[in-house]
């Protein structure tokens, strides 16, 4: 049995609107083994993205404990979380979220600016990441010069350039046409297979979810039986 890379223990998450508590996640507990490709599914408002944000360390649980590797991220300070994210997490957004004023190369290079790599080393890693996603010939294109599918592949290159343990994808095919979505899913599958990346993907798309090893369903903030 594979060792758990992500461990959630009795996670609760509520938001407050004035004095009204709105529970989003209730008592979520499960493990995600290293090298897993997990699809989180469920209707809108079920808490999928909230759960992904908690695992990414960009939001905090109201209660419960959350471990990634040996580290309990639910107890980390903001500064510790930022540092942890930069070396552990690669995040892929639905709308790519590239910097429009930077080229594909510069966008992918962004996370590396937080490392101690020199310019030549950064260049090498960026070129490698872009070649993995098949955009070695589009390095100097700006986001508005790329198709949606290409933009998402640049975003994936940005997510993998620091060689993180976990890739988190929030509706990565949600804004793409069928062919581009297929390409992106092939790419995620490739990263999981060839580089043993643990991937946690939130999706509405059953076709995308089928590419995952495991599908988990959330409903009204609770985990449905596996």
């Amino acid at each position: 049995m594979k060792q758990a890379l992500v461990r959630l223990e009795n996670i609760h998450k509520s938001y407050w609107r004035d004095s009204l508590e709105i529970p989003v996640l209730r008592d979520i507990s499960f493990d995600i083994p290293e090298g897993e490709f997990l699809a989180l599914m469920g209707p809108s408002g079920s808490g999928k993205t909230t759960l992904l944000n908690l695992i990414a360390g960009i939001d905090r649980p109201s209660d419960g404990r959350l471990f990634v590797g040996e580290e309990e991220i639910s107890r980390m300070s903001e500064a510790e979380l930022a540092k942890w994210r930069s070396r552990t997490i690669g995040f892929i957004f639905q709308f790519y979220n590239l910097m429009p004023v930077l080229t594909a190369f510069e966008n992918v290079e962004l996370p590396l600016l937080l490392t101690r790599l020199n310019r030549a080393e950064r260049r090498k890693q960026v070129e490698t990441a872009l070649s993995i996603v098949g955009l070695g010939d589009r390095m100097h294109h700006y986001p508005n010069q790329l198709s949606g599918g290409q933009e998402q592949r640049v975003a994936i290159a940005r997510a993998i350039v620091t060689d993180p343990d976990v890739l988190l994808a929030d509706e990565p095919t949600g804004d793409l046409d069928k062919q581009s979505a297929e390409d992106v899913m092939n790419l995620l599958g490739y990263l999981n297979r060839e580089f043993n990346k643990t991937i946690i993907m939130v999706t509405h798309d059953p076709r995308a979810a089928e590419r995952a090893h495991v599908q988990r369903r959330l409903d009204k903030g609770e985990l449905a039986a596996a």
Partner: protein, 385 residues
Amino acid sequence: MRIFKLIFKNTGRHKLRTFLTILGMGIAVMAFTVIRTTIDAWYAGAEAASPDRLVTRHAVSLTFFLPLSYADRIARVEGVEQVSHASWFGGVYVDPKNFFAQFAIDHKSYLDMYPEFLVPEDQRQRFNQERNGAIVGRRLADRFGWSVGDPIRLAGTIFPGDWDFVIVGIYTGAKENTDESAFFFRWDYLDERLRREAPIRSGYVGTFAVQISDPERSAEMSQAIDREFRNSTYETKTETEEAFNLSFVSMANSIVLGLKLISFMVVGIIMLVLGNTMAMTARERISEYAVMKTLGFRTYHIVGLIFGESLVIAALGGAAGILLTWPIGNLVKTALGAFFPTFATNPLTLVMAGVAAMVVGLLAAIFPTLKALNTPIVEGLRIVD
């Protein structure tokens, strides 16, 4: 280095908005420097004053004259080295709009006491020889295209009638702040005619210029001179030349105060212009900052990005304003040259403008930065959605 690149690229993202902001800042900074220069010009006369000169005038008002005979009595006061006199003439050259200062002076002593007025020796001799000779400043001569030998007619206002002069000399200033726009002619020419036409006004002068041996004793000597004429028909008020010149500024104190207030309001306007741009910018980029935070960028990176962009715009606006100061300042100098003997922008004013622009750049970035930092990542990302 990429962070700096990102700052510059962000600055140019909305080219029209950035251009208009820089232009607005430039105009405001230019307005600030020109207003400060105008204020400086107001005080230039006081700053050009010599510490070893006193001015004695009628105790009640400058509009009252003093008997010429006072000159000898002032000269006898211990510590007085030399006495001369000057009388405001207030004539009109062709049109009242052609205003410039005219003084009837004691031709034997006045120019000796004011070595900052540089007159070629031959022209000075001619001034001593020709009763209706006049010596004019270089700027005044340039303004009306006058040269030595030109006849000039002034219409008297305080001293009625037409007064004819011949320009016998053109003086230049020994210092940068020396007034080069005055018109000097001989008092004896004025008095001679007054003796004929208005004898009751003859033998009087406007002010005495008193050179003293020790500037440290100026207060004591001023009191000594005024004591000499206490309880006389013409009591005097003596003060340093600087205080005398400042008394003219104080007459327009509220205008100067108003200008000072406006200059600081201009700084406020700059802040609003830049603050508005930065607020819009930060609001539009909340999602980008959220993405950067997700990637692991820290608070100081976001602070650097927003402050950097604000400072780049402020620096460009400040530089534009400072560069605009020269052409616009020259236009103002041309328009107001008759009222301000010197109109030169003090380097300190430019430094103040530059510092003000950068301070505004810093202040304008505070609220957008707080907004960007206080927006939780998930909330910032939701804006994308």
